[in-house]
Symmetry: D4
Subunit: 223 residues, 8 copies
Amino acid sequence: MTRSDVTLDVTRGQRIGLGEAVLSDSKTVEQLVTVLRQADEAGLTMLFTRLRPEQFSALPAPWRQRLQYEEDSRTAFFGDPPPPERPAEIAVVTAGTSDSRIAREALRTLAFYGHAALEVHDVGVAGLWRLQRRLADIEAHRVVIAVAGMDGALPTVLAGLVPGLVIAVPADTGYGIAQRGVTALHSLLASCAPGLVVVNIGNGYGAACAALRVLSYDRPSAS
Amino acid sequence: MTRSDVTLDVTRGQRIGLGEAVLSDSKTVEQLVTVLRQADEAGLTMLFTRLRPEQFSALPAPWRQRLQYEEDSRTAFFGDPPPPERPAEIAVVTAGTSDSRIAREALRTLAFYGHAALEVHDVGVAGLWRLQRRLADIEAHRVVIAVAGMDGALPTVLAGLVPGLVIAVPADTGYGIAQRGVTALHSLLASCAPGLVVVNIGNGYGAACAALRVLSYDRPSAS
Amino acid sequence: MTRSDVTLDVTRGQRIGLGEAVLSDSKTVEQLVTVLRQADEAGLTMLFTRLRPEQFSALPAPWRQRLQYEEDSRTAFFGDPPPPERPAEIAVVTAGTSDSRIAREALRTLAFYGHAALEVHDVGVAGLWRLQRRLADIEAHRVVIAVAGMDGALPTVLAGLVPGLVIAVPADTGYGIAQRGVTALHSLLASCAPGLVVVNIGNGYGAACAALRVLSYDRPSAS
Amino acid sequence: MTRSDVTLDVTRGQRIGLGEAVLSDSKTVEQLVTVLRQADEAGLTMLFTRLRPEQFSALPAPWRQRLQYEEDSRTAFFGDPPPPERPAEIAVVTAGTSDSRIAREALRTLAFYGHAALEVHDVGVAGLWRLQRRLADIEAHRVVIAVAGMDGALPTVLAGLVPGLVIAVPADTGYGIAQRGVTALHSLLASCAPGLVVVNIGNGYGAACAALRVLSYDRPSAS
Amino acid sequence: MTRSDVTLDVTRGQRIGLGEAVLSDSKTVEQLVTVLRQADEAGLTMLFTRLRPEQFSALPAPWRQRLQYEEDSRTAFFGDPPPPERPAEIAVVTAGTSDSRIAREALRTLAFYGHAALEVHDVGVAGLWRLQRRLADIEAHRVVIAVAGMDGALPTVLAGLVPGLVIAVPADTGYGIAQRGVTALHSLLASCAPGLVVVNIGNGYGAACAALRVLSYDRPSAS
Amino acid sequence: MTRSDVTLDVTRGQRIGLGEAVLSDSKTVEQLVTVLRQADEAGLTMLFTRLRPEQFSALPAPWRQRLQYEEDSRTAFFGDPPPPERPAEIAVVTAGTSDSRIAREALRTLAFYGHAALEVHDVGVAGLWRLQRRLADIEAHRVVIAVAGMDGALPTVLAGLVPGLVIAVPADTGYGIAQRGVTALHSLLASCAPGLVVVNIGNGYGAACAALRVLSYDRPSAS
Amino acid sequence: MTRSDVTLDVTRGQRIGLGEAVLSDSKTVEQLVTVLRQADEAGLTMLFTRLRPEQFSALPAPWRQRLQYEEDSRTAFFGDPPPPERPAEIAVVTAGTSDSRIAREALRTLAFYGHAALEVHDVGVAGLWRLQRRLADIEAHRVVIAVAGMDGALPTVLAGLVPGLVIAVPADTGYGIAQRGVTALHSLLASCAPGLVVVNIGNGYGAACAALRVLSYDRPSAS
Amino acid sequence: MTRSDVTLDVTRGQRIGLGEAVLSDSKTVEQLVTVLRQADEAGLTMLFTRLRPEQFSALPAPWRQRLQYEEDSRTAFFGDPPPPERPAEIAVVTAGTSDSRIAREALRTLAFYGHAALEVHDVGVAGLWRLQRRLADIEAHRVVIAVAGMDGALPTVLAGLVPGLVIAVPADTGYGIAQRGVTALHSLLASCAPGLVVVNIGNGYGAACAALRVLSYDRPSAS
């Protein structure tokens, strides 16, 4: 396949404040290299998501060495992110330990754009005291990204307790009728808590982007 | 249609401690009368569920007058229930006001078998303090029937807080992806709380029967 | 049914900045009156959503007269909202004329909390020029609520063009495999645009609440 | 990933009489070790479910040797369970031989809490005599856990024959439209037998926990 | 709409031994009359299924009077059926009283082709003794049509007990996750009983046609 | 609601050769009138689809009288269509009589753009001779629109027999697992015939538009 | 796991004329050996279905050597089947070459019970002449088993052409919305052909059993 | 398995202008060889789709060497295609780089029949300028094949901009609720753009065949 099957959205950063990210897992190594080369030529930094370890390993060494890869989150940075701004305005909360890989994708996306975040893990509603103990910390943040699988109940409970924007990320944890996250997704959308918003199953990247839209919005001057 | 399309399960009470109940809404008036006549001949009391007001009104007066009908729950008693045993061993809890008609079906079923129950209404997880205020009352009961629609989060939270058996009844409240209760049902089945059990959407009758199995079990002597 | 099946979440406003709203369509008139009476006693204003005209008409006159009802959006205000703040920081955009009743629910919720909004209607992607003509207006707003049924493509296109937070509301417009909004909902969740967030089908109220969380967040001082 | 993504629910046992169990299969080895270390430090025993053989093998030897692992059920005990109480008050019944691995998860959970159980296997309704031959044994137990895949008919038949609480566990046996247990699950929820309760597909652990709630309930004295 | 939108399959009876039947409920009165006129001209008898009472009433009197209509089954005969052959080789069995209207459609279809049938009603598996009492009668028939809604368990149990062909007809009885018969349908297809065959939800007509194919097959002589 | 919720796509005709059509059934009378007024002011003709008789009747007389309404197809013309071109290059084929109202929507759309069509009705595959008798007629047309519900088999058979483009329109005829056309839709998409294309359930309008794109394409000269 | 998790239905053959068959793929080798030993002790022959090659290979040699295994159909015979009766009364027809492994399961089941069958392969409806060329052969058989994936159209066309009982077996051939056979299954159930009966996806065994019920029925003498 | 399970549709090319293609991935090597041998004997060229690399490698060398295999598209040609006609009348457009393997299947099918095509890649709607830059090129083509996964929005936008026939191919790109292409498929069918037609998920072959039906139609002279 030739280079022509990649067309980078080089002006996305100017338009919306977020550059294009590369959803990697269904791309061939050749396609990933083409992306890297085009980004390099255009002088763009680039975030790669869902980059499987075997894809990363298969990249030619010169390109691979220019990527900062984290296996847990399956993300890579091409180009250096800015140092994290503090204090954190975003909290990332998980219902269970198994959800932390999705939280990592959100955290890495935030880091790529220079944002720190509070992490609060494994505070699912089956043991409410865990959440309550951390509540004051969480509610001091303008945006809360809440990751939950199975029944998806944590973000609903959170959205009833904190005033900031709660962005729910359904996780594919659980089995049987958890349906790889579909049950959590639907439950979150049907939530009885007002103003809870939802992204796709496992979409830590998208939740982080939404948080960035909230925090980084700068009214266009001359659009 | 002739009488022959009804075959009452006259020995059910002896077998399992619960007599046959009549799921009424897809039966014709003729079929309902046949059921009543057979029950009367067999000397059985009988519980009718999902008996629509227009069905009740269409019954011949002599039969209608022998029924104790409650429109909210769409239940009717044929024959007098025993007086309620006290103190209550069952709590019936609802997440929202709209769920109370399903709770009523459970309460009426319990009443038909002579059981009282604690009622706690409208304590959904979007405002947790409502549940926490009533928690000590609830946990003093051996069985908790918890009715919730939309996200179905309440029974999960409850089952993390109380030691008794929690029986979740998904409700068809909500709209859109709440899917007439399917989302709540699936969420409840995927619950992260240990030992939560679930019945069909809107099945207050079934939840009550399960509670009765727990409370009334008497090891068969000579089966 | 007695008053006890309503438990208002009277402290919600203090906790999260948004008071309880009443999802009305599956409530009985008696339940609605109980809610009104409790709100009145507690000195709360109250927003009613999905209040059907026949429900509104069936309310006792003294209560009905204290409600400001709008039939298009099926919303009612109990108590006077504050005057709208200007300039608007929120834009409400619809893909088609049939989506405007959902947009109205969002607009009324915003109005209940004293927020104005820009309205842009019927700019679906089958005729892109309509959207492009209004783009500069839209992107000057911090939050964009975008309502779309059928294929749900508009919010995706918008989120690729504007930097603010785009909250997508799937609509139940369309027929056949549009599945009363489920197809639009799933399409929006699978969007290729970064940071698009989604609420339940037809949930204009929820989208407005999310916008209010963004705009009104005030870090708790002593939580 | 650091230790901070695990927060054990250390007070669950006190609250509800059942300690936290660890759903293992989507956890990394590092996370499992963190759980073990926290449990060890807190002096807790711990049940691991869905622990795959390769996960067990990958644990560091010192931890692995302190686990009592059973491959059939994919469960492990950390800490010694109490000796089983007798006589058994719980029966575990399977419809087919393929369902026995799910039954094992229930039996191991019961054993972890010191409960014996009667086992009755492969008595599905396609050959009713098998069930009828064992019926007297089964009905002498207060709680019956019934595992069935494919059509899920066995628990319904059982619940029409025995007076105790019947907890149905749908199994993912079967193929095609059996849909990995979803058909059995839905069929069980739609059961015509009164008071049948249901847990998630393959959730032998949950069924056992529900049984334990029934048998071990002890009214809180000072909650 | 003109006559040209009807093309009767006038040779179906010769080909397969079963004439065309008219699925009526989505046809206009004009279309029904066109069908009747064409059948009359071709000298064909004709079976109408799912003919709603209001459709029947709306037919012009001359046509209406030539139909033998039965409201329970929503069937009509155009032309006289042959007298029923005896003894019956087909049994029609229902799980519940609510299923009898579907059984009627099967019985009427059999009658239209001159076949008698044994009727056994309301023998669902929640009370097995009802079925067992009638088993000897049922198994003396070559084909058994078994109608069941909710969990759809009866035909499975039957197919494990009788040697003839068992044709399962799922019924739309039940509520919630019974999903208007889809759960029963899927459960029947996933049945553990060997050789159970299934038709569409509520398709008593189709079950009867299958039975007629079994009983009436006559090897074509010169095809 | 004010006029501002309608934005006609006035340049659609120039862009793609097909003007905007108005999907009417979820619009209010006020919205329909706004559309008419804007079209009138812009000098556009306009096609209305899914215009229910009660909507048509509720239109103010001056507007209603300027519409050519056909109840069978629920379509209306605003403005006069050109006279039909002959000979027809499109055939419209239905599997059953009940499908003809969808065929009518296609035929009316073609007529609105000045195209005649061959009609062949009720030639479903249960009686193949009906189709074979008309095959030579059908295959003389460049585009075949084939409407089928239930199993959706007709368009597949047709696409194996004729060389032109076959556009399948699934119909919502049938019951039970026909799922209001979803089964036919999915079956058509999974067709074993090469090059069969599909539109939404009941979308006769869309099928006609696709046919018009094939027949009317005129390479843009200066785009 | 001990021997006790197998309970052979040793009287099935006497009851219904078909012995128990062993659905093998989710059974352990130990369970398969237990089944073989019990069958051997009871003097039963036994049919194994869905026996994967790796399962067969893992059986202890003494048992393996007593099985007649066919890899294509994943079936094994324990004990010798009777010689095939002739002439064949059953035809097995496939729509595509990929469906032949399912047809093989049916053919092997028939062979196990001593029945021959006519095989007609790859005669799907995209090229109707293939079916028509073999039609006279097929219709000379009392029962037709028709296997089809993708759109599932072949059995419908067949059932409109032949008078015998047509048993449709949906196949999991196809991709995308073919949904591993679910689309074919639903299409077959919604068929417009009268009296078509259906079994589970890929259930060649079940189709053969149904055919055997038709052919082998022998009215019980003393039941 | 013997040769008899393959029946080539040798007259398909004469009937509809498109020869049979072989959907390879569920066929055995033996079946593929049988197809090749029959094609060779009949003097037919043949297109193979979904031929996995391991299937291709497993073919006997004499046959393998006569195939022109392309791994990206998993297609093979048996026999030489005609040289491509120019100028191209078809454009193939993809929304993302990951969709190009599906586009390749379409392009190879076109090439097999001697048609060139314009390729435009990675112009999804999240960055509209990419599409707009290529619009004039695209609209100069009579047929546009548009491949899109995730939300499936690109073909809708295209169909609102170009006058030719737009054939949408949903892709299985994306994750979670993208549901392996089902969401894109349903979104495309519910499209608000007039005359968009759709094929199965990933069916580049089918889209190409539809395009060929449009371009190559030649009215049968003597059918």
